[in-house]
Symmetry: C2
Subunit: 305 residues, 2 copies
């Protein structure tokens, strides 16, 4: 642990709640039950003006639409290619996902990981003009370190593509690829040239990993109820409820509030798949979760360049 835990956090109730929880859990919770889950987009890194994965999609689309008139003619494709990310998002998750899923269909899982990791290292973010891989939240990296120092296992539970996040999870967060849970495409086993490969299809596997599926997938993957959860949108609600109910252990849920228009963006955390869901800030207030104000609680947002 660094000499000062949560060094990028300003003193206040949020920081104190985190320090108290970590110490309390270490003293009272068996090691195997010290499970922490973090949403990714908007919780661990910047998700505006578009999900990082949507930016990746944009580049892949630019490459592919030139050779594929049908793909180029879709409204969501046109919106993306015109750089109108809001219009693309307004098409809804379905059409957006369909195009997203198609971009890497037919590619092996291993080739996709190489492509995604390389893109993340170099692709400039349209607002901050830094590589997307730099736009992780420094205070959240420190929070992950704090929890690990108190014996927690840290998992990422993302609505984004699991293989996309895995491609950089170790590099960005120190999280092993097998500790990432997310949305996934179906893969097919192919025998070719005397070897077995797994090839990506354009079909989503099950539901997007948001809302109740986050809880179900935590069980499928981690096999234990977490006692700490961090999110920033209505799509994290069930995960935060799951971590803070049904356990006799101390538990904590935090919600990252994007209220810093000067240093990042100011917006309400909506769910991808259900924009009409209650704002997560309202749920948090009723449930007594800890709301983290980016403006007030964070002394800095991103790591030094």
């Amino acid at each position: 642990m660094s000499a000062e835990p949560l060094a990028s956090w300003n003193d206040g109730p949020a920081k104190q709640a985190l320090l108290d929880f970590a110490a309390h859990a270490e003293a009272s919770v068996p090691a195997g039950d010290r499970i922490a889950v973090f949403d990714n987009d908007g919780t661990l890194w910047c998700e505006k003006p578009a999900y990082v994965q949507a930016l990746y999609l944009l580049q892949r689309l630019q490459e592919q639409a030139a050779d594929d008139p049908e793909l180029a003619a879709r409204p969501v494709t046109q919106a993306l290619l015109e750089g109108d990310l809001e219009a693309a998002a307004a098409q809804g998750l379905g059409p957006l996902a369909e195009v997203l899923l198609a971009t890497d269909a037919g590619v092996t899982a291993e080739a996709f990981a190489v492509t995604a990791a390389a893109w993340l290292e170099h692709a400039p973010h349209p607002h901050f003009r830094r590589p997307c891989a730099d736009l992780v939240y420094a205070p959240m990296l420190e929070l992950m370190a704090l929890l690990r120092d108190h014996g927690f296992r840290v998992f990422i539970v993302t609505g984004g593509g699991v293989e996309f996040v895995r491609a950089a999870s170790e590099r960005l967060y120190g999280v092993s690829p097998d500790d990432v849970v997310g949305s996934a495409v179906e893969v097919e086993l192919e025998r070719r040239d005397g070897r077995i490969d797994l090839v990506r299809t354009a079909r989503l596997l099950g539901s997007p990993n948001e809302g109740a599926p986050k809880v179900i997938n935590i069980q499928a993957h981690v096999g234990r109820r977490p006692i700490f959860a961090a999110g920033n949108s209505a799509g994290d609600r069930e995960m935060l409820e799951y971590a803070t109910t049904g356990t006799e252990h101390p538990s904590l849920a935090i919600v990252v509030d994007h209220d810093d228009a000067d240093r990042e963006f100011a917006y309400e955390g909506k769910a991808m798949t259900d924009p009409s869901a209650e704002a997560i800030a309202e749920t948090a207030a009723r449930a007594g979760w800890t709301v983290v104000s980016m403006r007030d609680d964070w002394a800095r947002i991103f790591p030094e360049a």
Copy 2:
């Protein structure tokens, strides 16, 4: 590491191949790619005269059939209740799985884990008259330790129920529950008494984790291709092929051959779901995999009582 690695293994080509591989991998493979996967039934512990999970089912059925005439009247139920495990297995995986899945439907994931773990600690094995939890293969525990000592991450990839194996994976093998991949039932999210719980259904989630699904589920869960795989049946074939093709790293597949009728059982490793599949010994011979003779390569089978 113990003073002598693989202490329960007799000197010979199998033991030497394992020692050489572990050393070679540590010297030449990045840590993140040192992934080992083990089948469970018949590879890590005894699966005869019936899968341990089938023995668990038997006790649950005895409890439940008394109150449920329809359940009691099924042929597979009758065979199991008469202790005719071969007749039950002969009904095929489908009817067996249906009864198996139903035994704990409506139970929370957490309650099931408690029930299964308690049963494993105490339930006597019908042949060896020791608790089922004692019937792990000592040489395989040593092999897991050897691989870990050389920087491997060790995963269990079982055709059995993932939650059943997880209930004892840490205790039996030192494998964290999240490092177990297996067959699964669907769970449903329920809100009750102000809490969120996950409740088991009687529906299998996807396919049984055997054959090609083992490979697909390794990717879904681990996210990387293993370079070491251990199995004992035709249901492990694809997993062993996956680990030993498509990588530039050194790789090794081993097949545990049940050829010791005196100390355990002598039988051919068939797949659960496809009994007509090629015997794994034939596949191993053609592929050049390392066959481990329980009779010749293992100085002892089980840990001391």
